[in-house]
């Protein structure tokens, strides 16, 4: 499988990364080189093989359903580029 320039633009849009027109051909080449190399996996017979879900066999630990952290909104928003009274500030999204 390979990507064309329209697909490169679509992936960048999905990934929320702005790319300029002159970056597109370079990215197309690089992504296709990597995807071409990955195609080696088609040689492997994976019929009847379970996909890995956890690399170490463990059961999920449970804990008591109780609040054990929090109550410091000022620290949570402390690193925000823009915040006001412990709210994150973003550009207007609703007219």
């Amino acid at each position: 499988m390979s990507v064309d320039q329209a697909t490169v633009r679509r992936i960048a849009r999905l990934a929320r990364i702005r790319i300029s027109d002159n970056e597109v051909p370079k990215l197309e080449g690089e992504l296709n080189h990597i995807l071409g190399w990955i195609e080696m996996l088609e040689e492997v017979d994976t019929d009847n093989v379970e996909p890995m879900t956890s690399v170490v066999e463990t059961s999920m630990r449970l804990r008591a359903d109780e609040v054990n952290d929090g109550g410091y909104a000022d620290r949570v928003t402390g690193n925000a580029p823009a915040s006001d009274e412990n709210f994150f500030m973003v550009p207007k999204v609703v007219e």
Binding site: M1, I17, L31, P51, T58, N79, F88, P91, V93
Partner: protein, 493 residues
């Protein structure tokens, strides 16, 4: 280099406990060495005042007879670990000015044991790289140079700052992380010891995430014993990381020096790659001979899916990275680049904040997870991963205690190497011997084993059973005793 910075962690620990010198003197020795080595670019942030305060507190605890296992030992911390109130950016521009309100479990464990922080260490951006050249703060220079050459070499990556700092004696030991080889490859390139523990041995809480099913923190140190001491401290069961495994952390140091007589060491045929340099081939054979001479039984084994580990990794790791790095959106922390609306603000921020390699991997990850491709790529890769793990399980079921392989396909290469940077896949091949271990969740240690024809260090890798790091330290010590120690000549201060 002052005398105190020549000591290993074990030596410094013993001398401190006997009162031969003060922790503040040890800290001063490392602070001067660190400041004199700025040309290496290993540290991106120095915290000398914090080091002095922590060392003074260590002296008080030593005086009261309350010394911890790492009391007064000065360490460098990879920029991937959250350190409260101190620069933590994973060497990315997108985390501009980020100072966490919390401490990672790994570093909290070290401070609890009395260690002293010297500063934050350079690394590839978000741990994506094998040469430390993707860092927003520029490349790190390897303390090693080829004989008769002044050319700067890379220290490997992503933990390039950690490995260079340990090799240059500008910290006694360092934290590092390994997603595909990021502890073991730089350790091999700098003549240091690095261990990637079993997945789940070390808490990932407070460590900036790259690929969550592969990431594992570990130490880089000057010898096997120091690596064992550090791993004992950083490993823990952590309620804040559900993938940390509830198994007691053994005293790794206790097994060092034990005989390996009767142990079964597997030699995998598939690691003998076409075009492998003679130096690497010869080093591997030397390692085999050393272990046989020490009484181990050498057995040939087969790990048939080895060559598929790297391409499968380049599906799994970017896929997980594209999800993990979605959080860098210019809203909650770090860089924000304005735009006409919220989506263009996201796009502008992420275009400017991420470097080229990180952008490329996010795009690969986004593509392989996108509608219609998930089964063909991600599910396929996870199936291949199952097969890779089964290869190892078969060998271990046959009684193999550990597997010996080369650590890297070459010695350190030059900064801005044209051939290496020509296509991304060339750089990716650096991890060909290490990435299988991450895919299978196993522990792996890189131990310096010799020098190549140009006088550059080369390492051997030992791969162990899950949670059997102790055996790796035990065998690693045998390799170290046979190979001797390797020190870079100081040209930087």
């Amino acid at each position: 280099m002052s005398d105190l910075s020549k000591l290993t962690i074990a030596q410094a620990r013993d001398a401190l406990s006997k009162g031969q010198f003060k922790a503040v003197e040890l800290a001063e020795a490392y602070i001067s060495a660190m400041e004199a080595a700025r040309s290496l670019n290993a540290y991106i942030v120095e915290t000398p005042d914090k080091a002095r305060k922590m060392a003074a507190a260590s002296d008080e605890r030593i005086a009261r007879g309350e010394a911890g296992p790492l009391e007064g030992i000065p360490l460098g911390i990879k920029d991937l670990f959250a350190t409260q109130g101190i620069h933590t950016q994973a060497c990315s521009h997108i985390l501009d000015q980020f100072k966490p309100a919390y401490e990672s479990t790994v570093t909290a464990n070290l401070w609890e044991d009395g260690a002293v922080m010297l500063g934050k260490l350079n690394m590839d951006e978000f741990a994506m790289g094998s040469s430390n050249e993707t860092s927003y703060y520029g490349p790190v220079k390897n303390p090693w140079r080829a004989e008769g050459s002044n050319a700067d070499l890379v220290p490997g990556g992503s933990s390039g700052g950690s490995a260079a700092a340990v090799a240059a004696h500008i910290c006694a030991g360092a934290t590092a992380t390994d997603t595909g080889g990021s502890i073991r490859q730089p350790a091999a390139f700098t003549g240091t010891v690095g261990i990637k523990p079993t997945y789940g041995r070390v808490s990932r809480w407070g460590t900036v995430a790259f690929a969550s099913s592969l990431d594992q923190a570990g130490p880089i140190a000057r010898d096997v014993r120091d690596a064992a001491i550090l791993l004992k401290s950083i490993a823990s069961v952590d309620p804040k990381d559900t993938t940390s495994v509830d198994i007691e952390v053994p005293d790794y140091e206790a097994v060092i020096g034990n005989s390996i007589k009767g142990m079964k060491i597997g030699i995998p045929a598939e690691y003998r790659m076409d075009g492998m340099p003679d130096d690497i081939e010869a080093l591997w054979q030397k390692g085999i001979d050393w272990l046989r001479d020490a009484g181990a039984e050498i057995v040939n084994i087969s790990l048939p899916h080895t060559k598929y580990a790297l391409p499968a990794y380049y599906i799994v790791a970017p896929a997980e990275a594209s999800s993990n790095l979605a959080r860098y959106d210019g809203v909650r922390y770090g860089l924000r680049v304005p735009g006409d609306d919220i989506v263009s603000m996201y796009e502008n921020t992420r275009a400017e904040g991420f470097g080229a390699e990180v952008r490329r991997r996010i795009m690969i990850g986004t593509y392989v997870l996108s509608a219609g491709y998930y089964d063909a790529y991600y599910v396929k890769a996870q199936k291949v991963r199952t097969l890779i793990k089964q290869d190892f399980e078969t060998s271990f079921a046959d009684g193999v205690d550990a597997i010996l392989t080369p650590a890297t396909p070459s010695a350190a290469f030059g900064i801005a190497d044209q051939d290496m940077s020509s296509v991304p896949v060339k750089m990716y091949l650096n991890d060909i011997f290490t990435v299988t271990v991450n895919m299978a969740g196993l522990p792996g240690i890189a131990v310096p084993a010799g020098l190549d024809a140009n006088g550059l260090p080369l390492g051997l890798q030992l791969i162990g059973r899950p949670f059997d790091e102790a055996t790796l330290f035990q065998i690693g010590k045998v390799l170290e005793d046979q190979a001797g120690r390797f020190e870079a000549k100081n040209w930087w201060s």
